[in-house]
């Protein structure tokens, strides 16, 4: 077991980062993960990950299961507390402090980050006792204290955007997996976050329903939403991503534009992974 490094005096940079096609000139990175380490017990899952995401970029994280890609996403919104490193989202910077006493201020900062980095889950996690509309306005009304009618107006806009206006008053159990995931996307969008985190959003779906969800996500990417997507959908990554990162054993092996990482990977491990993925398909 290596000892954890002390925080760097100089901010370390993501060597693969470069502002995306839609990034306004001169814009600062909106998400900065710096030297993230994560242990589960003695299992060293993330080994010093640094990632910078610029506004209006779409980043895809690929890698085999157990490589740490989902854990990295969960560290970004503090579903998992990193063992070391710092997370910065929209100028809110929180350093990992696994041994520190939890203060109210610390919890408030984490909630701030979560509001700005909305997560879309593999298993949708809609609230089953609420209708589609109630699911979508719950966050704005209860967390952001948006007036109810204003929240409903925003919610309807995004429910319409994911093409589910006719399901507005249904309960989730009456929806297909693809519809549920689109509601979950609308729920995240209605919080008006700075960045969207997608944790294998199509992995729990029937293959015939994957397309409708990827379609919504690709639209968002092209409209300039900032997104970090953990996925196995290479076609989506190729079409929508500004950068693709290949992660293995908790480190980035390589990163860059999809045409480089997916079509001409320089590292042997990336080549093996992509070859296996293609054979399987």
């Amino acid at each position: 077991m290596t000892t954890l490094r002390p925080p760097h005096p100089e901010p370390i940079r993501d060597p693969f980062a470069a502002p995306g096609k839609l990034t306004p000139p001169g814009a600062e990175a909106i998400v900065r993960l710096t030297d993230i380490e994560k242990y589960f017990g003695s299992n060293h899952v993330l080994r010093g990950i640094t990632l910078e995401v610029f506004p209006r970029e779409t980043i895809c994280l690929i890698g085999r299961s157990g490589s740490g890609k989902s854990t990295l996403l969960k560290c970004t919104n503090f579903r998992e507390e990193p063992t070391a490193g710092t997370v910065e989202v929209a100028n809110m910077r929180v350093a990992a402090a696994p041994l520190a006493t939890r203060t109210r201020k610390h919890r408030e900062e984490i909630r701030q980050i979560r509001r700005q980095a909305q997560m879309v889950f593999q298993e949708f996690n809609l609230f089953p006792h609420m209708t589609v509309l109630e699911n979508v306005i719950e966050g704005p009304v209860r967390v952001k204290n948006v007036p109810r009618d204003q929240a409903i107006a925003t919610a309807e806009k995004f429910i319409d955007k994911v093409g589910l206006s006719d399901k507005r008053d249904e309960h989730p159990a009456r929806l297909s997996g693809g519809q549920k995931q689109r509601v979950a996307i609308a729920r995240a969008l209605t919080m008006e976050p700075k960045v969207l985190l997608f944790d294998e959003p199509t992995s729990a779906l029937d293959p015939t329903l994957v397309g409708e969800v990827l379609h919504v996500m690709a639209d968002l990417a092209h409209e300039g939403a900032t997104m970090i997507v953990v996925t196995h959908e290479m076609a989506f990554a190729r079409e929508a991503a500004d950068r693709v990162y290949f992660i293995e054993e908790g480190v980035f092996i390589e990163g860059g534009p999809p045409e480089k990482v997916l079509d001409a990977p320089s590292d042997e491990r990336t080549q093996t992974f992509l070859a296996r993925l293609l054979h399987k398909v």
Partner: protein
Amino acid sequence: MDPIVDQIARRRARGRLRFRATVFGTWVVLIGLLVGGLWVAGKIDVGFLSQWQAFILGGVPLTLVISASSIFFAIILAVLGALGRLSSNAVVYGIASFYVSIVRGTPLIVQILFIYLALPQIWPGFAGIPAIVLGIFALSFNYGAYMTEIFRAGIQAIPRGQIDAAHALGMTDRLTMRRVILPQAIRIVTPAIGNEFIAMIKDSALISIISVQELLWRAQTVGSTKFRTLETLLLAALVYWALTLAFSVLQDRLEKRMAESDRRI
């Protein structure tokens, strides 16, 4: 469709109907043997019963009021107890687990007697509190502890993803509990609360020992003063039985309705 499909279905339905009819018939015969047998043997004084039945049955509303209000307070205690049992605060957890432990580790009858007889020795003011209030307190206190475990299990049955989703929206733990976990947990525990209510109807008979004039107290008092406990206790038993049967049917209906609305959800 092949007519055989219909024939099979009809035959199955007939079989099910015959089974239920036979079960019903068996019950009627058994009850007839029990009550009718005693009657025929001249062991039941019908005249005595008809003279006193109004007084005895007059205890039924009190039994129901006691049961309903005790369940109500028990639910409040149980929600608090469950939150305590799930708390990360050691003192809060300690209080909740202590409560559950003393209640579950001692007989209900001892708790009732302790509250009614022993507490006034500590503070004489307790003697001024009506027995029915103390009885409801004892039953609530006892059932609250058992139902604490029901609520705890109900809360823990909510999938982790629900908490993740609530936290991801930026909700505090308190808001997550109130808006996401408890509403779903309450649906889960409703059938169990129904069972507890039915058990409560029967256990409410125990507070006859502190002279609350509910169903059993009336049956017992009339019976023993007139040396006719066979009639009065038999009547009381039949009434308890009828009450629990009626509430089981109600509970069944409620559960079916909930299952349907779950399907609609």
